[in-house]
């Protein structure tokens, strides 16, 4: 499998740290020093994440010179879909005007890498030519806006990758370690009269220090694993594109990998943590401004709720 193009879309509304400090006891200085984030984009009530997903997908198709009728399957990574059902993938399919199968994947912030691995398996069957892998996230709607430590981290976004047969993907390494204690959110118990006691919805909860440790150690392990699996050296990698969760995590992971800072592109300062959308959005922006060129060697690495983690080694558009 190879990735031929990326696309992305962001909400219209940009919310700065100063704007947030008007509604909660925080400051631009605190948020920047603890997270590296200065602003993020948040969906208004008039926007939908499926519309952003469709825009991102259309951009990927346009950049590849393809049309919606060329798409054989849509995979959509989303932690908090637009609706409980139908799937966000089906909502995007409708907005795109596609007629192929469509399904959601939820592996938390690692979802884009899980979906890439699934696209690789689908294309390997030999019946399909183009699989759209989309990551569409509206985590700001899951966040607890009474918690100043976590709510300021998140932004909304959608990214897409157009995948087709090829030899670009060299290796993937995925992990899951069932853990619902350190990163989770729950829905309410509904109104079934036989369900007592009723469970109340719990917004996003995160044990920051535990997640920090997990993220840094697991990302380093996954990256070393995928490099070994793909027979590549870290020095040969052009871009290490890591889940844009927190600048402090990115810096700690980079220090462990002993690679130069310029190999670690980031958009966390302006986008915040956009869940599984962060990696394809960043790659799409790099494709747009020329930082990403055909043949570039990439290592992608993410971690998230599950707990899940993963890394992929690939050459872009080869």
């Amino acid at each position: 499998m190879k990735i031929r193009s990326f696309g992305h879309a962001l909400p219209a509304q940009e919310i700065s740290n100063n704007k947030i400090s008007e509604i909660m006891d925080t400051s631009d200085e605190w948020i920047q020093s603890h997270t590296g984030i200065s602003s993020r984009y948040i969906l208004s009530g008039d926007e939908t994440i499926s519309a952003l997903g469709a825009q991102a997908a259309q951009m990927a198709l346009d950049r590849a010179g393809l049309s919606v009728s060329d798409v054989d399957y849509i995979l959509c990574s989303t932690t908090c879909g637009e609706m409980i059902f139908p799937s966000t993938a089906c909502l995007i399919q409708r907005k795109l005007g596609a007629s192929c199968p469509a399904v959601d994947v939820n592996a938390g912030c690692t979802g884009f890498l899980y979906a890439l691995d699934m696209a690789d398996a689908m294309l390997a069957r030999g019946h399909m030519k183009h699989v759209l892998v989309i990551a569409a996230e509206q985590i700001t709607r899951l966040a607890d806006w009474t918690d100043r430590a976590t709510s300021v981290l998140f932004g909304d976004a959608a990214g897409a990758a157009l995948c087709e047969p090829g030899d670009g993907l060299k290796a993937v390494h995925l992990t899951a370690a069932g853990n619902a204690d350190v990163l989770y959110a729950t829905m309410d118990g509904g109104n079934c009269p036989y369900t007592e006691p009723k469970q109340k919805a719990v917004p996003l909860q995160m044990a920051g220090q535990e997640i920090f440790k997990y993220a840094v150690t697991q990302s380093s392990k996954d990256i070393h694993h995928v490099l070994a699996k793909g027979g590549a050296k870290a020095s040969a990698v052009d871009h290490f594109v890591l889940h844009q969760a927190n600048r402090r995590i990115l810096d700690a992971a980079r220090t462990r990998l002993k690679q130069p800072a310029e190999k670690f592109p980031m958009n966390i300062e302006t986008h915040g943590n956009t869940g599984s959308a962060g990696i394809p959005v960043l790659l799409s922006e790099m494709m747009g401004d020329g930082r990403l060129q055909a043949g570039d060697t990439l290592v992608l690495s993410a971690f998230g709720a599950g707990l899940t983690s993963g890394a992929a080694l690939l050459q872009f558009n080869i």
């Binding site: 603890h34 920051g208 920090f212 440790k213 840094v216 150690t217 402090r248």
Partner: protein, 73 residues
């Protein structure tokens, strides 16, 4: 090297401190370490000693961390 000496060495390296300015009774707040600095210190300590250390509310000073690591050994 004792647990305390290992912690002092890691702190001195990561926060650009003089090891002689660090004392066991010092709190993380006094050392200007925020929650993620403490998590990073614990992570580096786990790597150095091969001992898992759980971070909880009781962890406030270097001496607390020394005791936790020595209990886990």
């Amino acid at each position: 090297m004792s647990t305390y000496e290992t912690i002092a060495k890691l702190l001195a390296e990561s926060k650009d401190l003089d090891v002689n300015d660090i004392r066991p009774e010092m709190g993380f707040a006094e050392l200007e370490l925020d929650s993620l600095d403490v998590a990073e210190l614990v992570m580096n300590l786990e790597d150095e000693l091969g001992v898992p250390v759980e971070i909880d509310e009781s962890l406030r000073t270097i001496a607390d961390l020394v005791a936790k690591v020595d209990n886990a050994k």
